[in-house]
């Protein structure tokens, strides 16, 4: 089994899972806040925020990767700041791959969360308020449980997008085996080598299996949760 994939290829699979996991986990709370703001608040610059969130969905991934590089690269404004003050370097590290994947997945997650939040009857939140719950408590005890199916959908979408992210990642953090080489970059790399089709096919199988497992799992969880909150 272990010689089915080379050590570098195993590392690529593990790295992809790790990158996608962190990309999803970190973008979830931010995504919740942004989705809630877009769904419920009216504020100046709301269309601008909406556009900004959706930009990675519309731009060529290479452009997003380039923008990340000039912003978070060692000589980028934010990158320099992070390096000098916190010693955090994103460029050409797996954390940078997670950032790229997170940014690319963000619009999908926000869309799913926003739809879920908009579907929650604000009159239920109002009722919770009259029963003594402050805003944060209303969110935690009413809004959050009711949007759980939406959260699951958003998380799965974001995770899948992060797993498949290629363009922005390779532009921002390159394709260093064992460090920044994710599953898609590994497939791309073996395809560049003459006779690499067999190895590519095996990696493709791994990608398909991960995707199917995640999808089936999410379907099952979503059904269980939907049954629990439907009020039946």
């Amino acid at each position: 089994m272990t010689d089915w994939l080379t050590p570098d290829e195993w590392r690529a699979v593990a790295l992809s899972l790790r990158v996608s996991f962190w990309a999803t986990l970190v973008s979830l709370p931010v995504g919740l806040l942004v989705a809630y703001a877009l769904a419920r608040w009216t504020f100046w610059g709301k269309p601008l925020l909406n556009g900004l969130v959706h930009l990675p969905l519309i731009l060529p991934p290479v452009v997003t990767g380039y923008l990340l590089l000039v912003t978070f690269g060692r000589r980028g404004t934010v990158g320099q700041f992070l390096d000098q003050w916190f010693g955090i370097v994103l460029a050409f590290r797996w954390t940078g791959a997670a950032l790229a994947a997170g940014v690319m997945a963000f619009p999908l997650m926000v869309r799913a969360l926003r739809l879920a939040i908009e579907a929650v009857d604000p009159r239920l939140e109002q009722a919770a308020g009259t029963l003594g719950a402050s805003r944060p408590w209303v969110f935690a005890t009413v809004t959050l449980p009711l949007i759980l199916p939406g959260i699951i959908a958003g998380v799965i979408l974001a995770f899948a997008k992060a797993m498949g992210e290629f363009g922005a990642t390779i532009t921002f953090v390159s394709n260093i085996p064992g460090q920044t080489q994710t599953l898609p970059s590994a497939i791309y790399a073996v395809l560049q080598v003459p006779g690499g089709e067999d190895r590519a096919a095996r990696l493709v199988w791994v990608a398909i299996m991960i995707a199917m497992t995640a999808l089936l799992l999410s379907e099952w969880v979503a059904r269980v949760v939907a049954r629990r909150i439907s009020g039946q």
């Binding site: 239920l124 009259t130 029963l131 003594g132 005890t141 909150i229 009020g231 039946q232």
Partner: protein, 362 residues
């Protein structure tokens, strides 16, 4: 506890301008749809911020736009029962009932067992709201509001979305609530029968203004305000006590207006009742009629007569310690020479008093 309310608010095409006090007991905000009743209790509960206004509860300021005070709903502790129940679909009935407990400050207040018993919702506790009927849902919503330990209960047409059978099912629970849980209640309704059964105080609203306010019995039987409630619905409210249950299916009541025979009232002797006698069901005679099928003939004295725009007149009568209203034609009023001070006999068919107009007395 007295609630003092003064509000002004403008919507497109609608202006609200009201000021009234809600003394302890049940205060009914009564008026047609669109008269601004719900706007008033939304402002009291903090769900709507009026343009200007002041709401105080026993000296505690809930809202004072002049001082910039506007407590958020969760700090006002107004138990709000919505027309559409608004139970949390992801929680069981028990969890719904106990939701407010998490946030209720201070003592334990009314116990869960007592409320469950009072509202008859014991068998529902482990169910989810989606599996409840409309009437059950509304009872759970009422229990949930009370268990949040509120300083005041606000009910926004809690029966409006229900059919007649469900209404009849819930009204006795609301009466028990009024008589056993001593919470001040603000009750919004456009159904006079509900108001007559429940209210101690009535605030009559029309087009965003208060047209009359006062004790329920006096206000409902006042010929000046009665037409505002709808002439067909005008009627007097009497307190009564069950006296005798007869074998032939009738019940004798000892009412403030005198003894009254009504179709069977299922309550043991001594039970206090509140009954509404519609003005259009009361006939008048100047001499005690003989050979008449109507069972109730009460001696009374005319207090005043209000001539309407139509062919009718509304006669207010003093009968015993109570007040009755009779709706007669102007022609009859002339023929009988009705005038204040004239002794008459008020005649009421036993069967004309509908079940919905007989409620528990408070």
């Amino acid at each position: 506890m007295t609630l003092q309310i003064a509000l002004r608010h403008r919507f497109a095409g609608f202006a609200l301008d009201v000021a009234f006090d809600a003394p302890p007991g049940v205060t009914a905000l009564f008026g047609r749809s669109g008269s601004g009743k719900t706007t008033v209790i939304n402002a009291v509960a903090g769900l709507l911020r009026p343009d200007t206004g002041k709401v105080t509860s026993d000296g505690l300021v809930l809202l004072d736009t002049a001082q910039g005070v506007n407590l958020p709903p969760h700090r006002r502790r107004i138990g709000y029962v919505f027309q559409d129940a608004r139970l949390f679909p992801h929680l069981t009935v028990r969890q719904n009932l106990l939701y407010g407990r998490w946030f209720a400050p201070g003592g334990p207040g009314v116990g869960l067992d007592r409320i469950v018993d009072l509202l008859g919702i014991g068998p529902l506790l482990s169910r989810r709201p989606g599996a409840l009927s409309g009437g059950e849902r509304q009872r759970v919503a009422i229990g949930r509001a009370i268990l949040a330990n509120p300083r005041l209960l606000a009910l926004d047409e809690p029966l409006a979305a229900l059919d007649e059978a469900r209404k009849a099912e819930i009204l006795p629970y609301l009466e028990r609530l009024r008589d056993e849980v001593h919470l001040p209640i603000l009750y919004v309704s456009h159904a006079i029968a509900e108001v007559a059964r429940l209210a101690d105080t009535v605030v009559l609203m029309e087009a965003g203004r208060v047209t009359a306010a006062g004790p329920a019995a006096a206000l409902l039987s006042d010929p000046e305000t009665a037409p505002g409630l709808g002439l067909r619905e005008a009627g007097a409210v009497l307190s009564a006590r069950v006296s005798v249950q007869d074998d032939d299916g009738l019940t004798l009541l000892d009412s403030t207006a005198g003894p009254l025979w009504l179709p069977r009232v299922a309550a043991p002797p001594g039970t206090r009742l509140r009954i509404r006698i519609l003005a259009q069901d009361v006939m008048l005679a100047t001499v005690r009629p003989m050979g008449i099928s109507a069972l109730n003939i009460l001696p009374a004295t005319v207090r005043d007569i209000r001539q309407g725009d139509g062919p009718g007149a509304l006669v207010r009568l003093d009968a015993g310690d109570g007040v009755l209203l009779a709706r007669v034609t102007r022609r009859s009023a002339l023929a009988l020479q009705l005038a204040p001070g004239r002794p008459v006999f008020a005649i009421l068919k036993a069967v004309s008093v509908a079940q919905e107009n007989v409620g528990a007395g408070g």
